[in-house]
Amino acid sequence: MNDIGLDAREHLTEALVAAWLDGELGGDERARVAAHLADCDICREEIVSVRRLLGHDLVEESPAGRRRPVRYLAAVAAAAAAVWFLLVPTMQGPDSRLRSGPGSEAGAVAAIRILGPVGDAVRADEASFTWRRAGRDAQYTLTLTDAAGAVLWRVSTPDTAVVLPDDVPLEAARDYYWTVDALLADGETATSGLQGFETAP
């Protein structure tokens, strides 16, 4: 059955592969493409290979060719944070190559300190997020997801506080997760790690 527009070789069209990787598919179409990918190792290999090629910093910075640096940054920063949590107990002191952030002890890796919400019961219509500054001229990106990992909202800001807009409604009595990633002026990155909160009933 070709209800997702497979090509003559029964594989995803170029347009569908690109749309999947750019997050342009939703609803039923995304589910049908996911079903095809689950069963077709050739299309899966293509998706993975193209994603790796896109991860290379060769895309021109024109309005037409701009990648989404934040998603890649978030994944890299989260991985870096995971490594930091493993290494910090054994890599302290002035010889450490781990960078110190403002307000942190010497030798510690920069991390973003969250002020809230963390584990709190938050009113679904009053969600706001605050954190401490990670460095001068830092650019922050906040990602909010539901419990299944679906991204609900993503925003970039130089501020250390944002309020959830009205057009991103949260449900009552639900778990939500969020991270803040920072790109610092010297090119370093920092992350808050995954934070969670629940909305009040």
Partner: protein
């Protein structure tokens, strides 16, 4: 100032592509637009051509084929992006260029071997091993030719697992395929399916495996006593 992510490209075609595909522009204008297109995307095209391995001659052969294919029939391939209109042009161009390179390789060296049945069985075995990790090892001992009962029990687990995975949501089945058939890291899986962090991948996989264990239990395949 707050900007909302993801930042979208302007609607319509990239300017250099609009100029290239404009109706009846004249040969000089078309040539200038083509060279402007190459100036903007040449590094990407060459990177993709290089990514398939081989020496510099092989890379240049692919590159020449890519340029030829993109220009053929009045830029027929590039006009397909214009017709669809979704996603970023560079993503689409990466897909198309890679396909042209692979077609070129196939025309010269033949088609690569498909995934073998042995690979598929191996991936399914790894998944079954993981799901059945807490199950009674006596019931799931490696089937031996002279132990038909053990073999039948193992086949029962595999059949139940097959039914259980077939009933999962498509994206959950995709996660299992990426993890157990393709051996991707959680980070790569997150990038391919659009999860914000690898943690989300781990959590979802754990939930899927827990569900599969429930399904096996419903088929009478219970966990071993503590």
């Amino acid at each position: 100032m707050v900007s909302t992510e993801p930042e979208r490209e302007p609607a319509g075609l990239p300017p250099v592509l609009s100029e290239l595909l404009a109706p009846d522009p004249g040969e000089d204008v078309r040539d200038r637009a083509w060279y402007a297109f190459l100036e903007q995307h040449d590094r990407l095209l060459r990177h993709i051509c290089r990514s398939l391995g081989g020496d510099s001659d092989a890379e240049m052969d692919r590159y020449a084929r890519v340029l030829e294919e993109l220009r053929t029939d009045d830029f027929r391939r590039l006009r397909r992006f214009a017709a669809d209109g979704r996603g970023r042009f560079t993503t689409w161009l990466t897909v198309v260029t890679r396909r042209i390179c692979l077609d070129h390789e196939r025309s010269r060296y033949g088609r690569a071997s498909p995934t073998s049945d042995a690979d598929t069985r191996s991936a399914r075995r790894r998944l079954a091993d993981l799901v059945a990790a807490n199950l009674d090892p006596d019931r799931l001992g490696a089937p031996a030719p002279d132990h038909p009962v053990a073999r039948l029990e193992w086949e029962e687990v595999r059949a139940a697992l097959h039914r259980a995975t077939a009933g999962l949501d498509p994206e959950d089945r995709l996660l299992l395929a990426l993890r157990f058939a393709d051996d991707l890291s959680a980070r790569e899986i997150a990038e391919v399916v659009g999860f914000p962090t690898p943690f989300h991948v781990y959590r979802r996989l754990n939930a899927i495996l827990a569900r599969l264990k429930e399904v096996l239990a419903e088929h009478g395949i219970e966990e071993a006593p503590a």
